[in-house]
């Protein structure tokens, strides 16, 4: 890390990369929603629409050796981390060529090469894992940061509090990233928490905590640089609450009876992609044709991913129970 590593980088090339990554997630998921209506993708599928600035602001700040633990709303994290879009899409289809062999689907993207330790679909269930991954790294003296993503709903789980305490008590290099979209599925934060200022809860466990506008990719990235730098230097946990809003339904089954359309429309102007594009234009950092060029590139990548998934094969039923245990039996002893 250089002395200026925690300062924002405002080069045009970097700005375009941030924009591209957000557009990449948005358009990938738009395609997924379309494929869902065609029943190419089934099961639960949770879209990240409105929250893209968090994954895009945080993940590129991490090193390749760092680890990621994510939730069931993790398409964006996986794509930004470098899990190939082809294998993510094949996983959405449930094909053998998917990043989890097709066995996990939308909610369980894994990629060992990317140190992507899974989408976890038990709310709060990934936090103790992140504690353990970083405990191993601390015990072995590895210079590795574990970034753990979770939503505001997880804050109500005991595992959240147990994990905050363990990470702070044992001094573990975890970056906790709370994606506060104000709703635990259909229950508003104010209806489920006595204290709605989430970063204050984390601060109670004596770890450094801050909140940031999670729909401003530059602000998220700046905060993530501060946070990752602090974790790496101090080898202690850091809590970053990213305040955001989910513009689409919780999952494809959600009729959104719990919130007004007016509320959604009030948030829409704050959504991270258009807002960033407008900001870039007003600062002269983007040419009018940059966005259309990016969209064309992304659309080509998506088309390739869909073709890859379509061409994928189904895992033979004979392999259904394979890897319930490792293929290798325990070594013979005595």
């Amino acid at each position: 890390m250089t002395a200026t590593a925690d300062k924002p980088r405002l080069s045009r090339q970097h700005m375009l990369e941030l924009l591209k990554q957000m557009i990449r997630i948005r358009r990938f998921e738009d395609k997924c929603a379309e494929l869902y209506t065609q029943e190419k993708i089934r099961g639960f599928m949770h879209l990240y629409d409105g929250e893209e600035a968090i994954a895009v602001g945080v993940i590129p700040v991490l090193e390749k050796r760092d680890r990621i633990v994510a939730t069931y709303r993790e398409h964006g994290q996986a794509l930004v981390r470098g899990v190939p879009m082809t294998t993510v899409m094949a996983e959405m289809y449930g094909k053998l060529q998917g990043c989890s062999r097709g066995r996990g689907g939308s909610m369980h993207l894994f990629d060992r090469i990317a140190n992507f330790h899974g989408g976890n679909a038990i709310v709060g269930g990934g936090l103790p894992l992140a504690v353990g991954l970083s405990l191993a790294d601390r015990m072995r003296g590895n210079d590795i940061v574990t970034a753990c993503f979770f939503g505001d709903g997880a804050v109500a789980e005991g595992e959240f509090h147990e994990s905050m305490n363990l990470a702070a008590l044992w001094g573990l290099p975890v970056l906790f990233v709370c994606e506060n979209n104000l709703y635990a599925m259909g229950t508003a934060l104010a209806l489920s928490e006595s204290e709605t200022d989430i970063q204050r809860k984390a601060a109670c466990y004596r770890l450094t905590a801050e909140a940031v506008d999670g729909m401003d990719v530059i602000a998220v990235e700046a905060a993530a640089r501060r946070a990752v730098h602090a974790v790496r230097e101090s080898r202690k946990p850091y809590f970053l609450e990213c305040r955001t809003y989910r513009l689409r339904a919780h999952s494809m089954f959600d009729a959104q009876l719990y919130r007004d359309k007016a509320e959604i429309e009030a948030w829409r102007p704050k959504e991270p992609i258009v807002r960033f594009q407008v900001w870039l234009q007003s600062n002269g950092m983007i040419h009018p044709d940059d966005a259309s060029r990016i969209e064309a590139e992304v659309d080509a990548e998506i088309a390739e991913a869909v073709a890859f998934a379509e061409a994928g094969t189904w895992e033979p039923i004979e392999q259904l129970t394979r890897f319930a245990y490792a293929d290798r039996a325990a070594p013979a002893v005595r």
Binding site: G132, A136, M139, A332
Partner: protein, 335 residues
């Protein structure tokens, strides 16, 4: 054999000390191994299993945890995924329910769900069973529940050799292994070879040979079943006693070989009868050895109630030798 045993030497020890020695040995042999759990360090372990280890091995390897079963069990899973070989101690099987989310939804699923990209080489030890008048939240035997879950292995060491030897083999396993230690065995004393070491963890053992009936059991019930077998022998009935040792996977071959010989079986299991491990064993016998049977399969299980505090009720709630004797005689049609 006799000569070898003398040369190798034996020492008098307890089950508790055998488990402690297994932990100490594993931590010294492998830098990836550490123990963590509630009161394993300064207190020395709820059942004194890890007494003295903190001073010898230090707080990194003998790690006291908060009362956060889900948190530290999940931390064990994460550490195992990152290459460590943690031993997580849960005080009792009843407390393990607070960690069931992590055990079932993470430890047992991650290898399969990730398409074999990640594994969880974790060992979880816990105390199980009744007999210490600890009432309905510290005395149950839920290992049969855990044996329901694909993705984990479930062990029940009943002897000093297994208490000493199963841990190391479990730590070599690439998948999560749960070890259930019956609370009534910790004080059990016996002779153990000085060089006792790793044992297999996938085979049942015939602890007593006989040709009249197969008594299939595990864990704390093994010794009650052997008592029952001695009583039966005095009445001219030679029972074969099988110690399952591994509840998942079950060693069907050893069970069926015995039943093929004796043609009768009684299963002794400290879990509740309904939906029990005993039910699973009985069903497998019916599926695989039905035509060998000369009598209905018997079961001696715990009564269908929470384990109560008073001694006489607690004793009545769980399998005891007289019930095992009666069940064996019933299977043999003997008065």
């Amino acid at each position: 054999m006799q000569q070898q045993a003398i040369q190798a030497g034996t020492i008098e020890t307890t089950y508790r000390e055998a488990v402690r020695e297994a932990i100490r040995d594993a931590i010294k042999r492998d830098e990836r191994v550490f123990l963590m759990g509630e009161d394993v360090g300064r207190y020395g372990g709820c059942y004194a299993v890890s007494k003295g280890l903190l001073a010898e091995l230090g707080p990194e390897r003998i790690r006291d945890t908060p009362l956060s079963e889900s948190g530290f069990t999940g931390a064990g899973i994460g550490a195992a995924m990152a290459g460590m070989r943690p031993i997580v101690e849960l005080m009792t099987v009843n407390f393990s329910l607070l960690a069931l989310d992590q055990i079932l939804n993470n430890a047992a699923t991650i290898r399969h769900m990730s398409g074999n990209q990640f594994g969880v080489p974790l060992v979880i030890r816990m105390a199980t069973g009744a007999g210490r008048q600890l009432a309905a939240q510290h005395s149950h035997s839920l290992e049969g529940w855990y044996a329901h879950i694909p993705g984990i292995k479930v062990l029940a060491p009943a002897t000093l050799e297994d208490a000493r030897g199963m841990l190391w083999t479990a730590l070599q396993d690439p998948d999560p292994v749960l070890i259930f230690e019956n609370v009534m065995l910790y004080n059990m004393t016996g002779m153990l070879a000085v060089d006792a070491g790793p044992v297999d963890i996938d085979k049942a053992a015939v602890r007593r040979s006989g040709h009249d009936i197969s008594l299939v059991t595990y864990g704390g019930s093994l010794w009650k079943t052997l008592d029952a077998a001695r009583t039966l022998a005095a009445e001219g009935i030679e029972a074969e006693v099988i110690d399952l040792r591994s509840l998942r996977p079950l060693d069907d071959a050893t069970i069926m070989t015995s039943v093929a010989k004796t043609r009768r079986a009684v299963i002794v299991d400290e879990g509740w009868r309904s939906g029990s491990l005993a039910a699973e064993v009985a069903t497998r016998i019916v599926e695989q050895a039905f035509w060998s049977l000369d009598a209905p399969i018997g079961r001696v299980c715990s009564e269908e109630a929470p384990i109560p505090y008073p001694r006489h009720l607690e004793n009545a709630a769980v399998p005891q030798a007289p019930k095992i004797v009666a069940a064996a005689k019933a299977a043999l049609g003997r008065p």
